[in-house]
């Protein structure tokens, strides 16, 4: 019973998080802040996936979340390198 309320609360929180990062990606002053916001958005996504797994009682989403985490990192690194050096593979 309580877990269901907790889940709903958590969904709302991370949903809010999604909206805030969305705002930041769109309106941030520079590219760097936007990339950071996008990375945060990916982290929120991971959390939502984990919550969904709990809600439905399945492990499938856990693995998906793991891959999302790994790939999100690579994307962010690529952006970072591009901003710092212009060329991502030197």
């Amino acid at each position: 019973m309580i877990i269901s309320y907790a889940l709903d609360f958590a969904f709302i929180c991370f949903g809010l998080g999604l909206l805030l990062t969305l705002y930041r990606v769109i309106f941030a002053p520079g590219v760097g802040d936007r990339v950071l916001a996008l990375d945060t958005m990916v982290i929120n996504t991971i959390a939502i996936l984990a919550l969904q797994g709990m809600q439905q009682g399945t492990e499938i989403f856990f693995e998906a979340a793991m891959v999302v985490a790994m790939l999100g990192f690579v994307g962010t690194v690529a952006y970072a390198r591009f901003m710092l050096r212009g060329n991502i593979i030197e």
């Binding site: 769109i26 936007r34 891959v67 790939l71 050096r85 030197e90």
Partner: protein, 951 residues
Amino acid sequence: MSLFLIAALPFIGALLPGLMIQAGRNTCSTWTGIISLSALIGLLVHAPAVLRGEVITASVEWMPALGLNASFYLDGLGLLFGTLILGIGCLIILYARFYLSSKDPMGNFYTYLLLFQGAMVGIVLSDNILMLLVFWELTSLSSFLLIGYWKHLPEGRQGARMALTVTGMGGLGLIGGMLLLGHIAGTYELTELLEKRDLIQADPLYVPALLLILLGAFTKSAQFPFHFWLPRAMAAPTPVSAYLHSATMVKAGLFLMARLYPVMSGTTEWFWIVTLAGLITMVLGALIGIFQNDLKGLLAYSTVSHLGLITMLLGFSTEAAAIGAVFHIINHASFKASLFMTAGIVDHEAHTRDITRLGGLRHLMPITFVITAVASLSMAGIPPFNGFLSKEMMLEAAAHAQLGDNAWLIPALATLGALFSVAYSFRLLLHTWFGAERHDYPHHPHDPPFGMWLSPALLAVLVVLIGLFSQGLVGGIVQTTAASVLGNHAHPHVHLALWHGVTPALYMSGVAVLGGLVLLALYRPAHGLWHAVPRPDAKVIFDAIIDAATKLANWITDTLHDGKLTRYAAIFFLFTVLASWHAFSGGAGVTLPREPMQADIIPIIAWFALIAATGVTVYYHRHRLLALVVLGIIGVVVSLSFNYLSAPDLALTQLSVEVVTIVLLLLALNFLPEFTPKDSGNGRHVRDILIAVFVGGAVAALSYVIMLTDFAMPSIAEYHLAQSHDLAGGNNVVNVILVDFRGFDTFGEITVLGIAALIIYGVTEGLLGSKVRQKLLERKPNHPIAGDEHPMMMVVATRLLLPIALMVGVYIYLRGHNDPGGGFVAGLIVAIALLMQYMASGYDWADKRQRFPYHASIACGVMAAGITGIGAFFNNMPFLTSDFGYFQFPPLQKFELATAMGFDLGVFLAVVGAVMLTLESLSRLAYRRGDVPDEYPMDINPSRQPKNEDH
């Protein structure tokens, strides 16, 4: 000899001349002759049986699902045409040996000739009409090669092109007609189809089928108004003209009409179209023929006229006319091939074919003269030669034919055609051979060597013999052939004789001969009159039509494909929406039996984020990097919703493709300006926005309806869901579809992927030394650049991630058959893991440590998939049939092994190879030797010895 072998022999033999020419021209022509002769003998072995009325068949199933069988049959009609094709073919091969000069590539010539011969034999022996169509097209193509054999002559090339265009167009029509015919009859086998006369003629599709088939037959047989290509094809070497345009190719159209005669003839449509086309062609061709100065031109129009004659006879749809048609096919082939060959001899000896430059040749070339005289008298229809007999039969049939209520028009025009025919035949004979001997021939003529006049002489002997002993010599074959033309188990009464008594035909014949001679006597005024009357030039009209068609095609292409992506998208989307609207409005009304699902908070937020990100991407689209970052939101939301809608497979794929795309685009952005220039005006923007919103709305509406409706028919998804475990041993339906149910698709896709990667490699390889690259490398960067090329933190982090990521990749690959994952995603993850090393420590460092080339990885992947597929053969199953089983090796638990894993391994390897090769190729473009030596993985290396340790 099996019918298969007879049809295949010329094709197989077509390889020989090209090889044998190395051993000399005689060897080459001898071998070609041997092949033709063997096929002819093989065919004639069946002759006694066929003449007894038997039908020889040979058949194997080829693609039974399409109704396409490799089936041949030999009846009287096939035997007659086969004998003509192969027999005259042998004579032509002999003649061509002496005709072709030492400069002409003889190997090519004989190869083309045999290809053509094979195609013709295929047509006349085919039982399956689809296979007949294939051979039909082959004759068009191989005759194109033959007509254009003298590539250096513009007339040759133009003539070949015109012939191909006209006969090719007819061939297209014929395909349509034959498919309709097969559809009506419910079979594509001629032997069955020809029994269904009543069914076919009662069908409403009979008339369209008839029109299309006649289009094919008329273009091939040069019937009015498609007659014009034949005279232009005379630019070909004379053996080709003699073969194609007297005995074989142009007779293919007649053959087709004769073959389908049992089911197509007898109706009003058939009578009017075929009779009129034949009649007009006969009279017009003969009339034009009189005034031709080129010997071959005269013969060409004469051929057109005679083909018209035979067509007209087939149009009459009576037994006597059909017998006459069959008999005239034999006679025309014999005298016309002989005449073409003698025209070639004249050209060869006197170096001109212009009748006005010739005359008085009879003393200079006595042998050729005799041959020509016999053949041309036969062409004129003078007794006792064979042309007289069939012409009498034609006139007899015409005398009884009525055009509607009109009883005199056909006999009168037929007599007129015969009259013209007499005129041009005698013009050929008198103006070339009689008269005073001249001294201004371009080259002094004399009789050619034995081998060159042997072929026409044999035919001339045949002309005389058939004329004198018609019933005994060819009565049997005419009887059998007429029986197969008439079909429906007819037993035609054939009586061939020189003297039929005093009949209307004899009067008409007499009028024709006298009139023809009078016309020839008045040649000069007639010639003046002919040139005074304006008449359309077929070549001008043809060129104008081709020009107009080219312009139209160019206009359509230029309008639809102007190179702008926006226009392609606009056209595609609008067309799709219109087509969908058409389909949608034609269906049943929209009812929405399902209730929409309750929307949770997260989907609503995700939906909002998707809309917002899309809008913002459009807003930022000129700032390339920003647009890419904002697109990232869309990727995240899409993978989130895939997960939410229970498709974790798709989510994984979406994410990994997304990352690879980001890396790819960032590599490209390095070379691109920061901003896209504004390239279209506001008006176009408004237009594009309207289209986009409209199409987006339409797709949304369609999705809404689809999601709330049940499928009209059971969806294939149900089958896949139900069968995936039982048939393929996999619980992950997506993976099972990719590697098993639709494995052949995937096999093609990984091959294409590999090819694409190799092309990218090739293109970038070519750019490496280019000036553009140099200029881009030397440009001043827009933003200040950070100092460390290979930061230590990043190097360490990626090194730590490498084994983990590889492990994840292997895990995802292994479990793919039953749980979300599979070779494709695994390949992408491994590629990304490797890519990180390139990003962290640089191209050179990573590349040196990569020992296994990516090309090889692609190749191994495609091969692994292919070998897995072939493995099914050992199990007596078709390509790519998978198998699986459950095994137990202690101490492991029971586990499953499926052959699909081998296939999936192929996908995995191909994906890794293709992605890495692509990205490596692109990154190599930007590679430049850095400040820090490339043998070190990072800029500041703790393990490196300080350089100045002496201090």
